[in-house]
Structure formats: C-alpha cells, structure tokens
C-alpha cells in the first residue's frame, strides 16, 4: 500500500472540515473541526510510510462515519439551537 500524497492528505483534511459543517448540532461541528485540526497537526510529525498510511486510513474511515452521521443528524435535527449560535444584537 503506497503512502498517500500531499494532495490526498490535504483533500482529506478539507473533506473532514466540510463534513463538519453539515451537522446541525453546534457541539459536534466544533468538536469535529477541533479534532481534525488537532489530529492532523499531531500526525504531521510522522515520517515512516506505514504509520502515515495507517493514520490516513484511520481518518478516511472516520470521514465515512461522519458522513453517515451527518445525514442521520439532519433527519432528526433539534428545533432549538444552541445558545452559542444566537447572534448577539449588540
């Protein structure tokens, strides 16, 4: 299994962040954004090909999970928005 290219990794990063946007729940959105940024930053220091590949595959499977969950969450979106989403009128 060849290790992923730079563009692939960037593409995966972006896909994860784009999927994060689809969640109606504020908490999950923010968590997903934080987690992808932290995860990618942590793993940016990896150098050997097998660990890079395994991290990439890991992230890919998480992306699949997130995509499915985004669909499910939108089906059952709560009507009440989180307090963090109330735009202040100051």
């Amino acid at each position: 299994m060849s290790s992923p290219s730079r563009t692939e990794i960037l593409g995966l990063f972006r896909s994860l962040l784009k999927t994060a946007r689809k969640f109606p729940d504020y908490n999950i959105r923010e968590y997903m954004k934080r987690r992808t940024i932290d995860g990618f930053r942590q793993n940016s220091k990896l150098t050997d090909a097998p660990s890079v590949s395994s991290a990439f595959l890991d992230a890919n499977s998480q992306l699949e999970v997130a995509k499915r969950q985004a669909v499910v969450y939108t089906l059952y979106a709560p009507p009440i928005k989180s307090v963090m989403e109330i735009k202040s009128t100051s």
Binding site: L10, F13, R14, L17, R21, I37, S44
Partner: protein, 143 residues
C-alpha cells in the same frame, strides 16, 4: 424499481426548474455587473414537456473590493494562529507564518464567511492575502 425512483426524482427536479422559469423575470432592471445566465438542462424534453426557450437569469452579486478586504482582514485577525499585528492586504501566508494546515483551515473559514465553495485546486493556489481578496472579489456568488 431503481429507475422508477430516478424517474420520479427527475420529474420533481424538472418540475422545480419549470417553476423557477415561470416565476423568474428576465432582469431588465439596471444591471451593474454581468449576469450569470443558466440554460435549462433538457430534462424537460425527456418527459414530453415543451422545453422552455427562456433562460433563467440569476443576478451575479459581486462584493466590492474594500468590503472584501475589510472582511478578510477581520477574519485573519480573529484566527488564533495568526498574529494580528502582521495582518495586512499585502501579507503573504509565509509572512503570517501559516503552514499548510493553517492555510487550509483559513481557506475553509473564508468559504464559510463568504458563503462560497472554493474547489481544492483554487484553494491550493492561494499563497497571499491579496490573492484571496482578488478571488473573492471576482467570485459571482460571494455574499
């Protein structure tokens, strides 16, 4: 069974398209900027409906440069990984000490701020603040 479902979906989408054509008025009003002209795809023909010869106009809304600059500056200053004192319309991403992940994160924030979708190739090419400002100012769907 599959094709019936696709058939129904096609019908619905073409119905919505037909509604849009009926309701939209061609823009005879003062046009400052160019318009993006969308031609109807020929789905309507497939269902025996007369394909409408009128086209659906959607006015292209370009945001002017000063507003784009102001909003991009604010966005950059609000980011925790960017030093606000270094932010300027001429700063490059290197000046701001952005690594590749930071740049990607920044482009995502720009996408959200201006409600546009920037394809990956365009995102990768961005290397300075000025490029971002020019891209958004030239994007017809930016809000």
């Amino acid at each position: 069974m599959q094709s019936a479902g696709t058939g129904i979906r096609l019908f619905r989408s073409s119905w919505k398209l037909a509604e849009k054509c009926r309701n939209s008025t061609p823009a005879l009003s003062i046009i400052d900027h160019g318009e993006t002209v969308k031609k109807n795809p020929n789905i309507l023909g497939a269902f025996g409906m007369r394909s409408f010869s009128q086209v659906a106009y959607s006015p292209a809304t370009f945001i002017d440069n000063e507003e784009v600059t102001r909003r991009v500056m604010e966005l950059l200053k609000s980011k925790p990984f960017i030093d606000p004192s270094k932010v300027s319309p001429t700063a490059s991403f290197e000046d701001l000490e952005l690594d590749i992940l930071d740049s990607a994160e920044l482009m995502m924030a720009v996408e959200e701020e201006f409600a546009v979708d920037i394809p990956n190739e365009d995102s990768d090419k961005m290397a300075t603040t000025a490029q971002v400002i020019d891209y958004i100012a030239a994007h017809p769907q930016a809000k």
